[in-house]
């Protein structure tokens, strides 16, 4: 929950977390209702198994004061929602549903079973509601990633070439081929595309990477010398972008050459004037 902070929400933080956690779904409400049912109407065993831990969760994890206090010790802003995983939502609701079903006579069970299933379907959102995308290959990455990796390998004179890609390619390329290095890490990339404030020290450290990221993500044409200086300082030889990117002409004007294209991407190469050869650190001397 990147956008929620305890500092800004205060005691409302938990409620907002719950809203984010549930979305438009009702599973947490079903769990709460089941726990109340067991507390009031359940057998002693059911009360102990389901209701008492639910009460405990209510006074701890779901207590609005808790994140405010805990946040003084740990930064829990981004990951507080994971505490909600402790609530045995699925087990509790499924158990109640089964017990309810088996209280019916045999003839009524099939329609009740269908009814319960429909309630469960209606209480949430199907994980593939936006479309089921089958994997294109056994690696479960787009064929594009494999093709781009091949183009870079074919056009590189070094074992460890450095590249900078569009965001999706950047996130997947090294999962397939770790011999291709990337000029920017995930944090640097997200900071630029989300327009996050960086403190002065970080900004200073990332000055050249940020310059390149600004060009390829915001299509900002900066003075050629500044751009090429950033390519040199970051040792970046390859830039991979969508064929539709409006900055490609600018990149070609600065001296980058198109060395290949895949389905929807163009791979551009820059002949570094002073290439720093990337080599693995030699640890053998430390092993004795």
């Amino acid at each position: 929950m990147q956008t929620l902070t305890v500092q800004s929400e205060g005691f409302l933080y938990v409620l907002k977390c719950i809203q984010y956690y549930c979305g438009s779904g009702l599973y947490l409400a079903l769990w709460a209702a089941a726990a109340i049912f067991f507390l009031v109407k359940g057998k002693d065993r059911e009360r102990r198994i389901f209701a008492f831990p639910a009460l405990m969760l209510l006074i701890t994890i779901f207590n609005p004061v808790v994140p405010v206090v805990v946040n003084h010790i740990f930064d829990i802003n981004k990951e507080y929602y994971r505490f909600f995983w402790i609530a045995p939502v699925i087990v509790t609701v499924a158990y109640l549903a089964v017990e309810f079903l088996y209280k019916k006579n045999s003839a009524a069970r099939i329609p009740v079973f269908i009814g319960i299933t429909l309630i469960f379907i209606g209480a949430g959102t199907y994980v593939y509601a936006d479309g089921y995308i089958p994997a294109e290959n056994y690696y479960k990455i787009p064929n594009e990633v494999i093709a781009v990796s091949q183009v870079i390998r074919d056009n590189s004179e070094v074992e460890y070439p450095v590249a900078l890609c569009d965001f999706n390619m950047q996130m997947e390329l090294r999962q397939y081929d770790a011999s291709i290095l990337l000029a920017a890490d995930r944090t640097q990339y997200l900071a630029i595309i989300n327009g996050e404030e960086q403190d002065d020290q970080v900004k200073e450290q990332n000055i050249y990477v940020n310059r390149l990221l600004n060009v390829i993500t915001k299509n900002v044409a900066i003075p050629e010398d500044n751009f090429l200086e950033a390519m040199q300082k970051t040792n970046t030889e390859f830039i991979v972008l969508s064929k539709e990117s409006p900055i490609i002409d600018y990149l070609k004007d600065t001296g980058l050459k198109e060395v290949g294209s895949t389905g929807v991407r163009t791979v551009l190469h820059y002949d570094l004037p002073e290439r720093q050869k990337m080599e693995l650190a030699d640890y053998k001397a430390f092993w004795n």
């Binding site: 045995p88 299933t117 469960f120 056994y138 090294r174 000029a183 995930r186």
Partner: protein, 356 residues
């Protein structure tokens, strides 16, 4: 097709390994019958705990992945031989018992198998773009590429001058790298197919054990319970829920944390409600808590909280303060790891990737 057969064999291999690790403990218990599912579940956590104990010293000495892989291969071989030898009298009767169980409860077996197969096919066949794969999968590919452990940044491939403590003790992706090294399988195949399948099956095994316990061995009810659990896992899916991690980010340690560890802590709570003086259940809770720290750094906060949430009512119900002491001891390793992490974040120490 051959690829599919190899991956299936590797999934089975994982369960053989977990069963071997687990049976070395469960096979020695005199006071309870030998259980295949309990052996696999116990073995899963002992496996990762053992891996951690081997991996961390090697990482601290900047030794290569290949050395870790060789040592781990020897350990796996020894454990399998020891389990086969020590439990030779248990396995054959157990296999016969499983055969009898499947014959007697064939309806349940078919429903459970069909549900799990459906989950496996749907989830494994899907393409998911998730940002964290850039870390978890790339940690394995980077380790293989460089033959080093956590020395190079998985996001960029650049050398790091110190270990990132957030991930230092969560060595789950390094086990992926080791297994890739030993089997020759690409990390993408290992993480996004083999380990996805392992996580889904483990999660269903825990649901099965919970259902069996809740319904007191009524397999008709347990089958329906598994069906409802399966349905809900596909619909309780904002990006934050454990179910979403199970269906979309299955290869991450966090998915195991939410869908194997959390339900397992709940199952152990149910067992403790029956007998809170059973040392073996407490030992199991200790193994789960400590083993889960290997899966994800988040476990160090989540597991102690979960144990507290379940054992406080237990202490009240049983009117025994000793429950809380035992619970505290179970999560002590997690708490120590949290303190270490806080000390690191506050700049109190750094572990460098080179001698200074």
């Amino acid at each position: 097709m051959i690829q599919l057969l190899i991956l299936t064999a590797l999934i089975i291999l994982n369960f053989i390994l977990y069963a071997a690790f687990g049976s070395l403990v469960t096979g020695r218990l005199k006071d309870r019958p030998f259980s295949a599912t309990v052996s696999v579940i116990t073995g899963f956590f002992i496996y990762y705990l053992t891996f951690e104990l081997v991996c961390v010293p090697i990482m601290l000495k900047w030794r290569p992945l290949s050395l870790l892989s060789e040592i781990w291969a020897v350990i796996l071989a020894v454990v399998i031989i020891a389990a086969a030898f020590l439990n030779r009298r248990l396995f054959v009767p157990k296999l016969r018992e499983i055969g009898r169980f499947l014959t007697e409860h064939w309806g349940f077996a078919c429903v459970a198998a069909a549900l799990m197969m459906a989950e496996l096919i749907v989830i494994i066949h899907a393409y998911q773009f998730t940002l964290d794969a850039a870390f978890y999968v790339a940690t394995a590919t980077t380790s293989l590429q460089t033959d080093m452990l956590n020395i190079y940044d998985p996001y960029t491939g650049m050398w790091q001058d110190h270990f990132e403590m957030r991930y230092f003790f969560a060595t789950y992706p390094l086990n992926d790298a080791v297994m890739c090294k030993l089997t020759g399988v690409h990390p993408l195949l290992w993480t996004k197919t083999v380990m996805e399948a392992v996580t889904i099956i483990m999660s269903n095994l825990i649901y099965y054990r919970i259902g069996k316990k809740l319904f007191k061995d009524n397999y008709g009810k347990t089958a329906v319970f598994l069906f409802f659990c399966g349905i809900m896992n596909f619909f309780f899916t904002t990006i934050y829920t454990a179910s979403a991690f199970l269906t979309t980010r299955t290869y991450e340690g966090k998915a195991i944390l939410g869908n194997v560890v959390m339900p397992l802590v709940f199952l152990l709570y149910m067992k403790l409600l029956e007998d809170d003086r059973d040392k073996k259940i407490w030992l199991m809770l200790f193994a789960v808590a400590t083993g889960s720290a290997v899966l994800s750094n988040s476990a160090n906060m989540l597991v102690p909280t979960a144990v507290a949430v379940f054992t406080l009512p237990l202490a009240v119900i049983k009117r025994r303060f000793s429950v809380l002491i035992k619970a505290f001891l179970c999560v002590l390793p997690c708490l120590i790891l949290i303190l270490l992490y806080i000390a690191y974040v506050r700049g109190m120490f750094v572990i460098y990737t080179y001698p200074r």
